[in-house]
């Protein structure tokens, strides 16, 4: 048969949220959209990992940024883990970092106004703001954060207790969102499931656990407890300086470029992915589409865009406008735009989750076989 197929997590998002929850979110989300300044990290900005008691690593984890422990002093697993920074074990730097973490945690926890979100964030596309669940937050699939073209846009999540992600979950940034502007205030502990691709600074009251193969573009900061790692990669995200362009279109800009690679140098390119109808990226709506939709990539120094949908290339564009029309087909798929730039800017892939309203092909094809039934 050919039922409507979609990855695990998407359907459960719908189930766990419920239509009522979505409606409530739509009503509340506007209140959360008041522009927020980023959470002040103080000296924590230099840290990728900070714990109150212990940092325990297994396997060849890579930490891009400082690692600290205070008031505890136990750091184990380096090597085989690698710290591309400085390890601070119960020293004055780590102590100050913990003080700054308390300040940052309280700052994030106190941000208002906030929109109440469902416990499971899977499948949502959110615009900048403060999002809260008084109980807990979870992610079993993809969460998309849409900066709407503002690279300074800030996203703050407040979890009453735990933050838990399932295996293979991901946080995706679109339209200029930056990892340095995403913050997760966690009322107890955070656990990221195996191979989760996560973004943002985790500010946990207790502990942070990263299971095998997690990529965290942000920070794992634990106030009272421990940080546990297994073959993970953590990169303390630094914000890129906004790009300025000349009248000729040969962009230039400067960025921190310290660890994330999001910063620039001469020739920084930018790319934004837009969709028509805009409901495809409207926060909370997660509307389905029933007919062909249009996607466009705009930006600076774009050399080529390859659009793919449901894993198949649908268009290649080497000249502006970088646009194409896509038939949504059936089921749920991801529209991707792989953008390469002139100059030194690394290629990037932008994407939009798309859910079709169309019924699946409902015919089925019986397969030849013998019986042996009771008759």
């Amino acid at each position: 048969m050919h039922p409507k197929k979609h990855p695990v997590g998407r359907t459960w998002k719908l189930r766990l949220l419920g239509l009522a929850c979505l409606s409530a979110l739509a009503l509340l989300v506007s209140d959360a959209l008041a522009a927020q300044p980023p959470v002040g990290l103080g000296t924590d900005g230099a840290f990728a990992v900070l714990a109150g008691q212990t940092v325990t690593n297994t396997g060849p984890s890579t930490i891009n940024g400082n690692l600290g422990v205070s008031p505890g002093a136990a750091v184990t697993g380096f090597p085989p883990g690698t710290v591309n920074g400085t390890i601070h074990e119960a020293d004055a730097v780590a102590s100050q970092a913990q003080l700054d973490l308390t300040t940052a945690y309280n700052d994030a926890a106190g941000r208002t106004p906030f929109a109440t979100v469902p416990a499971d964030l899977t499948g949502l596309t959110l615009t900048p703001g403060v999002y809260k669940n008084a109980s807990a937050l979870a992610l079993t699939g993809s969460l998309t954060l849409n900066a709407q073209g503002n690279p300074s846009a800030v996203f703050i999540f407040q979890a009453g207790s735990t933050l838990i992600t399932g295996s293979g979950s991901s946080v995706n940034l679109i339209n200029g969102a930056q990892p340095c502007n995403v913050f997760w205030q966690v009322g107890s502990s955070a656990t990221l499931g195996t191979t989760t691709s996560f973004v943002g600074d985790i500010l946990a009251l207790s502990s942070v656990t990263l299971n095998n193969g997690v990529t965290l573009d942000g920070r794992a900061l634990a106030r009272n407890g421990s940080v546990t790692l297994i073959n993970d990669t953590i990169t303390a995200a630094q914000c890129a300086t906004p790009v300025t362009t000349t009248g000729t279109g040969s962009g230039s800009g400067t960025g921190s470029g310290t660890t994330t690679g999001t910063g620039g140098g001469k020739g920084n390119g930018t790319a934004l992915l837009h969709a028509t109808p805009s409901s495809l990226t409207r926060p909370g709506s997660h509307a389905c589409v029933s007919k062909a939709f249009k996607v466009t990539v705009s930006g600076k120094l774009i050399r080529r865009v390859v659009f793919s949908f449901a894993g198949h290339v649908v268009a290649r564009r080497t000249d502006a406008p970088f646009t194409t029309s896509v038939d949504p087909g059936t089921g749920s798929h991801t529209l991707k735009a792989h953008v390469t730039f002139s100059g030194a800017t690394p290629a990037k892939t932008l994407h939009i989750p798309v859910r079709s309203c169309n019924a699946a092909d409902r015919s089925v094809k019986p397969i030849a076989g013998s019986g042996g039934f009771t008759g």
Partner: protein, 235 residues
């Protein structure tokens, strides 16, 4: 969340034309990508396994999903666990549990609007599409000595039978198994909804060994639409 997927309230009995339970508008399914370990509870020890492929058609195993849970207390990875309905008994092996829990990793989910109801009392097969009854066919059902077991089941396989095979032209192999015949014609007493060709019988009667026989036109219509995983309620 159960309202979407547990809309069928099982109804015991079947001697009389049964009150047809309310049918959900859709059913969540999961297609196995590999052998699945089955636990009695989320995070519990594996007690059974379900093969990735079905024995007759070699098609992927598709199971109805009853509920889901993310239980970090039993699984430190916070995995998504699915409670699924399980295939029926395999020849010469003990009867497996009707339901169990599997992890959702690397699985593919889907939905189906179809649902079959076998009304043993009325001796009819009712076809539901998105919760609405769209067809009602007279059937031959199990006789008293080899009754068709009642309960909640699903289509394991959609089989195109050879023209001369008993039950041609099509058979929906179900997860239901005969409570009397633990082996029949080399199979595990598997209850199927199939055709009447090469078997005979009078539609509207109870004279089969447990299978449900339909007119050729009826089973042809159903087999063109109802695939693996589609829930079956036998009342």
């Amino acid at each position: 969340m159960s309202c979407l997927f547990l809309g069928v309230a099982a109804s015991a009995g079947g001697a009389q034309a049964a009150a047809v339970p309310q049918i959900a508008s859709q059913q969540e399914l999961v297609t196995l990508q590999h052998v699945a370990g089955v636990s009695a509870s989320p995070g519990g020890p594996v007690q059974e396994t379900v093969a990735a492929d079905r024995p007759i058609t070699r098609e992927r195993t598709v199971l109805p999903v009853l509920s889901a849970v993310i239980d970090n207390s039993v699984d430190t990875q916070g995995q998504l666990w699915l409670q699924v309905r399980l295939p029926g008994r395999v020849l010469a092996q003990k009867t497996p549990p009707a339901t169990g829990w599997i992890t959702a990793s690397s699985m593919q989910t889907s939905t189906t609007p179809w649902h079959l109801v076998v009304d043993l009392g009325a001796r009819r097969v009712l076809v539901y599409d998105a919760g609405v009854r769209v067809r009602s066919y007279a059937a031959v059902v199990g006789k008293s000595s080899t009754p068709t077991p009642t309960g909640e089941y699903f289509v394991e396989e959609n089989v195109q039978m050879a023209p001369g095979a008993p039950g041609a032209p099509f058979a929906l192999a179900t997860s239901d198994r005969s409570s009397v015949l633990h082996e029949f014609e080399g199979g595990p007493g598997e209850i199927a909804i199939h055709g009447i060709e090469n078997l005979g019988g009078t539609l509207g009667t109870a004279e089969s060994h447990g299978c449900i026989r339909l007119a050729t036109s009826a089973i042809t219509w159903i087999a063109a639409r109802v695939g693996p995983g589609v829930p079956i309620t036998i009342v």
